[in-house]
């Protein structure tokens, strides 16, 4: 009765101890995100407004930055290169996606898979390959010279390499956007006798506009924040990403490094915000009543699309095939006979054997730990009740990593974990910090995948369990987890592949004991051992491929065991 007599007092439900346990775990995840994400980012911000001795200097570092012409050149270089790549890659990827989603082209599955294979290798593999094609001893150097390009090192190399590195990322987004079509619109247009071109410009393009915007944003950000490609093929052409590295590792100028890192953060953050906005629009466009679009065969169109996709894949094959080929020749370009020399050199002399084991260890721990944390976190967010003050914070922390370029995150880790007064200082240079950094770096995609999978489950499972007095973790174990295994496998593979191929975040964090194979590529390249660098890049791609096949097998087995209920 007291609540009735005291209208000011809100009724508060008692929290069951099982729910308290859930809150505790969610709290721990939040704490981990604060320590390993918010902490390092705050450290960068702090560093950017301090001088070398740690005194607060306001915006002096920023003024100094904008007064340095060389650094401003890099800013301009970064922007125009990223814009150029975006303008080129989005239409190219759109056409490919259009072929996949809207034509009756044969072998679509194979086309799609092949177009996505660049994701298995570090982005700088394409840069290495272009050095073989157009470099000082390149096969097609004379062709390049006749086109008026003096050297592949610099902007031309970066643009070409980025085109190939970014293409699959843009493709994934655009295929999704073009697959979400409502056939009823096209039927209505047909009933009104609309021409193909008009349908394309009035239905297809507007329907995919958010996807196109998203693809453009992602391409721009990927290019501007990528470190490997400009490092390998950039020559004297400076960009923001290489500046950060030079300032921090070369000149030990942490303050200016922090300022440049914040410059990198800006476009990524902007992209992220726009993208979130766009995503919301995109999903609300398709109602439950929409009828999926079915493609109709059309000989000429399908043939043209097949030809286009074949050409794209051929170019891709030329790029990655060259790296593969070069990694196996004895002495480019003089002796093209088969040899494992580069592999032997890389693995033995370059001590890649330990680096390779380290990389596998990192990938394994990241995929295991990352999947567990991401999924448990997403589950507690989506399916449990209470602790309402904690949830928006966790949601924000889970989304931020997508907006943070790897270089920036890695730099933040140096500032944060290398600080002598930080009690976590002991983690610096350890495998643990590499794992933590990599999990955080790729957290958002995993989180969103898990959220999507969880949202597709009936929201009342937990209510039913509570009414049956079954604690939520039993339902998690018996129902949620088995239903979500396909998503779990996806998340785990995503973490594994990215941990294998990532360079940008970990380049600041490795120690002699925790060297990674992706980073040895950079070192080999710097030492002029480009053959060995190519060999190691191929090695990573081959490992990723093997792991993908392994995951396919696991997925198939698990599906048979846990998804039997799906078949009627």
């Amino acid at each position: 009765m007291s609540a009735v007599l005291n209208p000011g007092v809100r009724v508060r439900q008692k929290i069951h101890w099982t729910d308290r346990t859930g809150h505790l775990v969610l709290g721990l995840i939040a704490l981990a995100l604060v320590l390993f994400l918010a902490g390092p980012l705050a450290a960068i911000l702090a560093q950017s407004v301090e001088d070398a001795r740690g005194h607060f200097v306001g915006l002096d570092n920023f003024f100094a930055y904008f007064a340095t012409p060389a650094l401003l050149d890099s800013l301009w270089n970064s922007i125009w290169v990223a814009l150029l790549v975006t303008v080129l890659v989005v239409p190219a990827a759109f056409t490919f996606a259009y072929a996949l989603a809207r034509s009756c082209m044969p072998l679509k599955g194979i086309f799609r898979t092949l177009a996505l294979t660049p994701l298995l290798a570090p982005s700088l593999l394409s840069a290495i390959s272009f050095i073989y094609w157009f470099g000082n001893q390149g096969v097609l150097k004379t062709l390049m010279l006749s086109l008026g390009i003096e050297s592949i090192y610099g902007a031309p190399g970066i643009v070409l390499s980025q085109l190939f590195a970014v293409f699959p990322h843009a493709l994934i987004i655009l295929v999704t956007a073009l697959s979400l079509a409502d056939a009823r619109l096209y039927e209505a247009a047909d009933a009104l006798g609309t021409s193909h071109a008009r349908k394309f410009f009035t239905i297809t393009l507007p329907g995919a506009k958010y996807g196109i915007a998203s693809a453009a944003m992602v391409s721009f950000t990927l290019v501007i924040t990528d470190f490997g490609i400009p490092k390998v093929i950039g020559g004297n052409f400076n960009v923001l990403a290489t500046d950060v590295f030079k300032l921090v590792i070369g000149q030990q100028d942490f303050q200016k490094g922090a300022v440049v890192a914040l410059m990198l953060l800006a476009p990524a953050l902007l992209t992220f915000i726009v993208d979130r906005f766009v995503q919301r629009k995109q999903t609300s466009m398709l109602t439950a009543r929409a009828v999926p679009y079915a493609t109709k065969p059309s000989r000429a169109f399908d043939l043209a699309m097949t030809a286009y996709c074949a050409i794209v894949l051929l170019l891709m094959g030329a790029v990655f095939g060259m790296a593969l080929f070069a990694s196996f020749v004895k002495f480019w370009p003089y002796d093209l006979s088969f040899s494992l020399r580069h592999y032997v050199f890389g693995i033995v002399d370059g001590e890649v054997n330990t680096a390779f084991v380290n990389s596998l260890k990192l990938a394994f721990l990241t995929s295991l730990g990352g999947t567990a944390i991401v999924f448990v976190g997403a589950y507690l967010m989506e399916k449990t009740r209470g602790a309402d003050w904690l949830r928006p914070a966790v949601q924000l922390l889970a989304l931020i990593p997508m907006a943070v370029p790897g270089l920036v995150l890695g730099l933040g880790y140096i500032f944060f974990f290398n600080a002598p007064q930080n009690p976590l200082n002991f983690m610096y240079h350890s495998m643990a910090v590499l794992v933590a950094c990599t999990i955080i770096h790729f957290y958002t995609t995993g989180h969103l995948t898990a959220m999507t999978a969880l949202k597709s489950l009936d929201g009342e499972f937990e209510s039913v369990s509570a009414s049956l007095k079954v604690p939520f973790w039993k339902t998690f174990w018996r129902v949620t987890l088995p239903i979500c295994t396909p998503a779990l496998i996806d998340i785990s593979r995503y973490f594994f592949i990215n941990a294998m191929t990532t360079i940008s975040a970990v380049v600041f964090l490795y120690s002699p004991d925790t060297r990674l194979v992706s980073i040895t590529i950079l070192n080999l390249d710097e030492a002029g051992e480009i053959g060995a660098a190519a060999a190691m890049a191929v090695l990573i791609a081959a490992t990723s491929l093997a792991v993908c096949i392994l995951y396919l097998g696991i997925g198939w087995l698990v599906e048979r065991r846990t998804q039997a209920w799906r078949t009627k």
């Binding site: 609540a3 009724v11 508060r12 439900q13 009342e460 209510s463 049956l468 007095k469 209920w565």
Partner: protein, 375 residues
């Protein structure tokens, strides 16, 4: 009227047999705010043991929120809930005693029917054989004895609904909560399951609260109906009371079809509509007061009418809407001044009398059935 009838004015109309506090479930002053929006205000209700109660109202009236508050799935902003005299107001769902069936059924898709029904039993560490027997009994009870090894996706919607019911009943809860359990089913299955759930509930004697927006469902299943509108209870009563004696214009309008007429009180029992005066209405109040008179279509009859009957109007048929054995007929009556009436006439009557649109028709108004509300 029922012995424990609550009204929105908060007065408890308690009469006779059941002593206060003997009710199985008691809600006191329940209020729910979502930010600045008040979804429920001052909800008082008592439900006796074994009763089947329907929360009826349009979408957004707060009926599902109220059910979820009883289940503990939402916390009320203020107010208390007592079940069997125990204060459960602040208990989490797991410490309350109820079984629940959702509109979506929420069957675990990756578990067999057996495992679904046994889900709550296994947790209580019952012995394997006991569980098997219990599940078999429950499946027999809901009429699906051979479905234990199937997965939910292999069952029809109606069958899934029964399994959800069996799962909710497995732990023998004191209270069964049904959240629009039939609305996802097609019409024929729905009507069939309606009676099945009702007879199952009567056999088990389990106190049941069902949320529905379907008045037919509520009228045919419930012992008592709680009509809700915009976060308050408008009326609590048996189906017949709700239909015949709606307490508010909203209830009259929401449950069944009704003619709404602007009228004026002329004296005790006398109301004037247009230029016509009618007698025998249960109308009180000062003469000259403007009121609204609510009249069901079936309370305007075409036969029997004898010479000398009062409250008879001459009318002309404007439109006949064919509904099967009955037709919904709209007429304009002399003297009612642009207030058309809707009446039900049987198809047979229409053809016997050779009535069509434009025909003249004499009607008698059962004024004692008229409900008078303030204008």
């Amino acid at each position: 009227m029922d012995q424990a009838l609550q009204r929105q004015d908060g007065k408890t109309l308690t009469a006779g047999t059941a002593p206060p506090g003997a009710s199985f479930l008691r809600l006191e002053g329940i209020r729910k705010d979502f930010g600045a929006f008040t979804a429920l205000r001052d909800i008082r209700l008592e439900v006796p043991q074994g009763e089947f109660v329907c929360f009826l109202g349009p979408s957004g009236c707060g009926k599902t929120t109220l059910l979820r508050i009883i289940a503990g799935l939402e916390a009320q902003t203020a107010g208390s809930i007592y079940q069997r005299g125990r204060d459960i107001s602040v208990l989490p769902p797991a410490q309350r005693d109820y079984g629940i069936v959702f509109q979506s059924y929420a069957l675990f898709p990756n578990l067999s029917v057996f495992d679904n029904v046994a889900y709550g039993l296994v947790n209580r560490r019952a012995a394997g054989k006991t569980i098997e027997d219990r599940v078999a009994d429950l499946l027999k009870l809901v009429g699906l004895p051979d479905s234990a090894t199937k997965y939910p996706a292999q069952l029809s919607g109606g069958q899934q609904q029964r399994i959800a019911l069996a799962r909710a009943l497995a732990t023998s809860p004191g209270l069964l909560l049904l959240d629009e359990p039939l609305s996802a089913l097609d019409a024929i299955v729905r009507v069939h399951l309606r009676q099945e759930i009702r007879s199952l509930q009567q056999r088990l004697g389990v106190t049941t609260i069902m949320v529905t927006h379907d008045q037919e469902e509520a009228l045919s299943m419930a012992d008592r109906i709680v009509v809700m509108n915009q976060g308050v209870i408008d009326q609590v009563g048996t189906p017949l009371e709700i239909y015949r004696e709606p307490a508010t214009p909203f209830v009259a309008d929401f449950v069944g079809k009704v003619n709404m007429l602007s009228a004026t009180i002329e004296g005790p029992g006398r109301v004037r509509v247009g230029t016509r005066s009618f007698s025998g209405a249960s109308a009180n109040g000062s003469a000259g007061r403007s009121v609204r008179a609510y009249l069901r279509p079936e309370d305007i009859v075409a036969r029997p009418i004898s010479e000398g009957d009062s409250n008879v109007v001459e009318s002309k048929i404007e439109k006949i809407e064919f509904l099967g054995s009955y037709c919904l007929v709209r007429v304009t009556a002399d003297g009612l001044e642009n207030q058309p009436l809707t009446v039900y006439l049987s198809l047979n009557f229409l053809s016997e009398q050779n009535l069509a649109e434009g025909s003249a028709l004499r009607l008698r108004i059962l004024t004692e059935r008229m409900r008078i509300f303030d204008a």
